[in-house]
């Protein structure tokens, strides 16, 4: 038996210990916010927060979660009462097809909980693992900036570059 604490509620599930957390969330707990994208940890559509850290739930076996708390986008608000990031994503119309958005919001949420006033550079570096195939990254960044109270970068200023890994 596997015990998971998800959005503050303890669940005991009779599932294979090597089941990815994403499958348990979607198939057993019917929390359909997190999505299956690539299944390889390359796109971020499955991102949830585990013990305060953004985590690819498609790569996380339930056996490895242990007592760490899992939070999904369902914990941030509802359609009637959206949380600050959810409201900002709506206001900035940051979703096109919407498939990546739950992961985007959870990754941003993890950043703002740890660092409520990130710099533009910190924001972009932090959001880098999550991809949006519709190309709404600029609106996604604008939505997170509005919650973080971060000014939009001056169009005339030097571009912010991020170097990935090198």
């Amino acid at each position: 038996m596997i015990t998971l604490t998800v959005n503050g509620v303890r669940h005991t599930l009779d599932i294979d210990p090597s089941t990815p957390l994403l499958y348990a969330l979607r198939n057993d707990l019917h929390l359909h916010g997190a999505k299956f994208g690539c299944g390889l940890g390359q796109c971020g559509a499955c991102t949830v927060i585990v013990d305060g850290k953004p985590t690819f739930s498609c790569l996380m076996p339930v056996a490895a979660v242990g007592s760490r708390s899992v939070r999904t986008i369902e914990s941030l608000g509802t359609a009637e009462h959206p949380g600050p990031l959810q409201r900002a994503f709506v206001e900035h119309q940051a979703a096109q097809c919407g498939y990546c958005i739950a992961g985007m919001i959870m990754r941003a949420q993890a950043l703002l909980e740890r660092n409520p006033k990130p710099t533009e550079q910190e924001l972009r570096t932090h959001m880098e693992p999550n991809l949006c195939r519709c190309g709404t990254h600029m609106r996604i960044l604008a939505a997170v900036r509005s919650v973080a109270g971060l000014p939009a970068p001056e169009p005339a200023s030097a571009p912010v570059t991020i170097s990935k890994g090198l």
Binding site: L40, T55, P61, A63, A64
Partner: protein
């Protein structure tokens, strides 16, 4: 009377010693110049310099994370404290803009800065001293035509007494043998080129050799393997001992692309080296590979191994199997498309999984290989936040036991704890 004479003798020796010490510690400064105009350099020479600078991997150490190219500031953790790479852009105040070509050549050949102060030997002048005059002139032309960046590296944080720079002079007496290589006429031109690139410009031994207590490469143990930035730089003279013995073709492909289908992907500090080598002519990399294959220690070659995949038997490996199934099998499992069409090696052939210590396997699981821009060839997610040290040890036990016939590693969780601390601080 006799005592007095002895005393005089001792004093005389001391005075002579101090004179010699001052003699080797004090070097004249070389007069500053006005930064030369970029247009004053022959474009052909600048192009040749791009190749030299890429082969020397200058940008790897002289660029900070998210920093401007060649502007320095990258911290280098040594057992003696942290030193910061310097700014080698042609900025007049903070870079090498006021360095003449002679000052630049003296730094590469003898490790003395323009102002006459010794540079710390993290700068591999003991290898660069083998460079030809032409290569030094080309590298100078290339660096002096880069964009000047005004940036001062943080002050070094070294332990006493090494924070007293002139002491490096004594280190140089022990480890610096000045001068360019003369070609060995009994060897081919390719071999001679390869030796210059490996022992000189490319300074491979700086990372791939064990260091002694004062940070010098141990004599007679060149290419026996070393440790850099928490990663093992594997021995370069035991390539026949790999699960699949290295070949010239595999080595060239690895060095130019960061991936070898029979060994694995470059990661850690080797990854940026392969990005540099991707930009140089293939004959340079072929020469490097040919020379490296010529310096192999005699050893009985292992028969090429077949891909293994056994069932896990120990409890640790069985726990690891569960984790592997969810986190790793999508790419590394036998049925993964990456295995069948991606030319990725099975873990049976992986250098890290077959290594004597679990160091690189742990680092790989901790850090993965990040995206690195448009030339990304290999990617692996980082698992440092996902798995604790015991789980990392279970995964290591699983891959070691089921994919290789090598003896089990011990102390994996302790090493994971140590590396986690170092990686997090880095």
């Amino acid at each position: 009377m006799k005592h007095k004479r002895l005393w005089f003798g001792a004093a005389g020796i001391a005075v002579a010693g101090i004179a010699v010490a001052i003699g080797i510690m004090v070097r004249p400064s070389i007069a500053p110049i006005d930064p030369p105009a970029p247009a004053s350099f022959d474009p052909q020479l600048v192009r040749a310099g791009a190749r030299v600078v890429a082969l020397g991997d200058c940008i790897v150490c002289h660029t900070a994370k998210d920093g401007k190219p060649f502007a320095g500031g990258l911290p280098l953790a040594t057992p003696f404290g942290t030193i910061y790479a310097t700014n080698i852009t042609p900025d007049a105040e903070t870079g090498i803009g006021r360095w003449s070509r002679d000052a630049f050549a003296r730094a590469l050949r003898t490790g003395i800065g323009r102002n006459g102060q010794p540079l710390y030997p993290a700068f591999p002048y003991i290898h660069f001293t083998r460079m030809s005059d032409d290569d030094i002139a080309a590298a100078y032309a290339y660096l002096m035509t880069r964009e000047p960046v005004h940036a001062t590296a943080p002050a070094n944080d070294l332990i006493f007494p090494l924070n007293f720079r002139p002491l490096v002079a004594f280190w140089n007496v022990l480890f610096l043998r000045e001068g360019a290589y003369q070609p060995d006429p009994s060897q081919s031109a390719q071999w001679n080129r390869g030796r210059m690139l490996v022992d000189g410009l490319g300074h491979c031994a700086s990372c791939h050799s064990p260091l002694n207590a004062i940070g010098g490469e141990q004599r007679g143990r060149a290419f026996d393997g070393g440790i850099v930035d928490g990663w093992e730089a594997p021995p370069l003279n035991a390539l026949g001992q790999a699960a699949q013995p290295w070949t010239q073709a595999q080595l060239v492909t690895y060095l130019r692309t960061g991936r070898a289908s029979e060994h694995g992907a470059a990661a850690g500090p080797m990854l940026p080296v392969t990005r540099d080598l991707a930009t140089v002519p293939v004959e340079d990399v072929e020469a490097i590979a040919a020379y490296i294959l010529s310096i192999q220690k005699p050893a009985t070659a292992r028969a090429a191994a077949n891909p293994l995949q056994r069932a896990a038997t120990t409890p640790a490996a069985q726990r690891g199997a569960t984790l592997f199934q969810a986190s790793c099998a999508q790419c590394h499992g036998p049925a993964a498309p990456m295995q069948s069409i991606g030319e990725r090696p099975t873990l049976s052939f992986s250098t890290a999984v077959n290594a004597d210590t679990p160091r690189n396997a742990i680092q790989m699981m901790f850090n993965g290989i990040g995206w690195h821009g448009e030339d990304t060839l290999n990617y692996m997610p980082s698992f440092i936040d996902q798995y604790d040290d015991t789980q990392i040890a279970d995964l290591a036990a699983y891959v070691r036991e089921t994919y290789t016939d090598r003896p089990a590693w011990s102390g994996v969780d302790a090493m994971a704890a140590k590396l986690r601390k170092e990686d997090t601080a880095r």
